[in-house]
Amino acid sequence: MIEIKHVSKWYGDFQVLNDCTTFVSKGDVVVVCGPSGSGKSTLIKCVNGLEPFQKGEVTVDGVKVGDRKTNLPQLRAKVGMVFQHFELFPHLRVVENLRLGQEKVLGRSRAEADAKAMSLLERVGLTVHARKYPGELSGGQQQRVAIARALAMDPICMLFDEPTSALDPEMISEVLDVMVDLAHEGMTMMVVTHEMGFARKVADRVIFMDRGEIVEDAAKDEFFGQPRSERAQQFLSKILAH
Amino acid sequence: MFSNFDWDVIARSLPYLFYDGMVFTLTLTALATAGGIVLGTLIAMMRLGGLPVLPWIAATYVNFIRSLPLVLVIFWFYFLVPYIGQWVTGASRPVQVGAFTSCLVTFTLFEAAYFAEIMRAGIQSIPKGQVAAGYALGLSYGKVMRYVVLPQAFRNMIPVLLTQTIILFQDTSLVYVLSITDFLGAASKVAQRDGRLVEMYLFAAAVYFVISFAASSLVRRLQARVAIVR
């Protein structure tokens, strides 16, 4: 589904990604972890073209992301993304947030869009807040709405950029529960996160990045059991300590 | 299109334009800025100090002045200052003040309202901890302001103060309504005397542009440097 081949990216003189190659098969859940500054957020933003890259190739469902002829809005409609800071549209009510992409990008009717929105809100347990504004919700609630907003587009895969990093600890589990359900339903997911419990539960593979490089890319059991690289071992020991 | 314009008129009138006109403009700008900042700081302190009545006076003054067009204020002071002079000196008739003095009073008092808001923002941006530390050392309110708060506030607001000065520089062109010979007034006089409106006004616009743009570019660079230090 998602193929990343020898991708390199520079910000001016500074290299953020160095020859990254990996893939995410349909139905797989791939977790990307690593210290801050390792380039993991940048890497998944390359998948839906939010970040351009100078070298390499990224293909999503057969469509080349870097190709100038690619219709990016159309591609992005199929790739759902959830952000660290939720990024709900503050001037729109919850249901309107879910409506916007459906109506303006997919061309659905108001009735269709609303039906979809309400069913998704029910799935994440937030129907009672449908007419509220994002500012009136807690962080955990906002993030669940953000996930629903991405799902409303019926995406073929979902990208998560540190979805729980900005949440207070007591709200992390409500968001992770939604993500676990999603994984069990067979959604293709690429998740940047520090939540190793989540990785252990549903990940198929775990990628460890450091300083712009993919250092380790292994099946879950292998990664947690005996990671090959020393950097990965150090990182894991620090993270799993608490 | 530009063939029947006499660009020489600019060269011929340069001494008049700059020695008479620009000197007036720059002097007025410099003095009104200095006076305006001093007065504006006082007004800001009046507003933020804890004394009764003074904050209300300061706020009313600032809001009042800022509601009025500068042109109107220029007319006001042109007529008012002689009467104030009469009242102050106890003369029998309104005192004749020169054009420059009248303008200086006008611009200082007018721009002070704007400088006051800038300084107020500057003073308020200094963390309360600074004041507390000053008091804890035994400094009086006056000394805390003078040695701790104002120096920092002033330094923080330098880019904004400079930008307001550039605005002041451009505002001085409005003395035209009193037929006073500042830079624009001089250009206008030459234009009307020689019938060369296009050349003179384009030249005046170019000069104002070059000076203002250069000054604001310097301020931008200054802002960039200050930002890094913070």
Partner: protein, 243 residues
């Protein structure tokens, strides 16, 4: 004090024969407000366009936006008025120039156009700051959904940016109203011009200018109140400005 006060002067007929001095001032006020409104609409439209240009990733758009803003910000308003009124008719083809010079109400149209451009540069800066204050995340979220750039600005960025900008935009609107007074130099008979005329005809300097002052204060009050109502009606619940 050797000044003769005469507050009844307002009810005396003005030498222009149109009515009292009071009605003279009232007509001036009307010109002030009409000029301000038309130029403001022009400034909003142009300014929003240029402001948006400055936030686009295209270098050409940004350079144009920068040049536009700097041009209108670094020349005094009065000089700009003169350029539009005196210089423009001379540098365009003869026919156009003649048409411009013979236009009825030329000072009005010139003032509207001049103020429109002048204020649009300031509005552009506000729009740029407003959109900039939203942070990159909002743009990314909208793009990730598949919105085109136009859709992104229309449905996500500009609605929030304008709410954030209401206070500074109110200031600009008030500035625009005050700036109409500069047009008296090209013959627009707005409020300050009328007050000056009243002063020249009647010699009642302070009555004339006090009336003008009070009228400007009144306009100020009305605008600020209306804007505050507008702010309240479009306020987004729960949003902390300047996140």
């Amino acid at each position: 004090m050797s000044y003769n006060w005469n507050w009844n002067i307002f009810f005396d007929p003005s030498p222009e024969g149109v009515g009292t001095y009071l009605s003279m001032l009232r007509i001036g006020l009307r010109w002030t407000l009409v000029t301000a409104l038309f130029s403001w609409i022009m400034a909003l439209v142009l300014g929003s366009l240029v402001g948006v240009l400055r936030t686009l990733p295209s270098k050409a758009a940004q350079r144009f936006g920068f040049a536009y803003v700097e041009l209108f910000r670094n020349i005094p308003l009065l000089v700009q008025m003169f350029l539009w009124f005196f210089v423009l008719p001379e540098v365009v083809p003869r026919q156009v120039g003649l048409w411009l010079k013979q236009m009825p109400d030329a000072p009005f149209y010139t003032a509207v156009v001049c103020l429109g451009f002048y204020t649009s540069a300031r509005v552009a800066e506000q729009v740029r700051a407003g959109v900039g204050s939203l942070g990159r995340g909002q743009g990314m979220a909208g793009t990730a959904l598949g919105l085109t750039t136009a859709q992104l600005y229309r449905y996500v960025l500009l609605p929030m940016a304008f709410r954030i900008m209401l206070p500074p935009l109110t200031s600009e609107f008030l500035n625009n109203i005050k700036n109409t007074s500069v047009a008296l130099t090209i013959g627009l008979l707005e409020l300050t011009a009328r007050a000056r005329a009243m002063q020249e005809f009647s010699f009642q300097v302070f009555e004339a200018f006090t009336a003008a002052t009070l009228l400007y204060l009144l306009v100020n009050l009305v605008v600020v109140t209306l804007m505050r109502l507008l702010e309240r009606s479009v306020r987004v619940p729960g949003y902390i400005m300047g996140k």
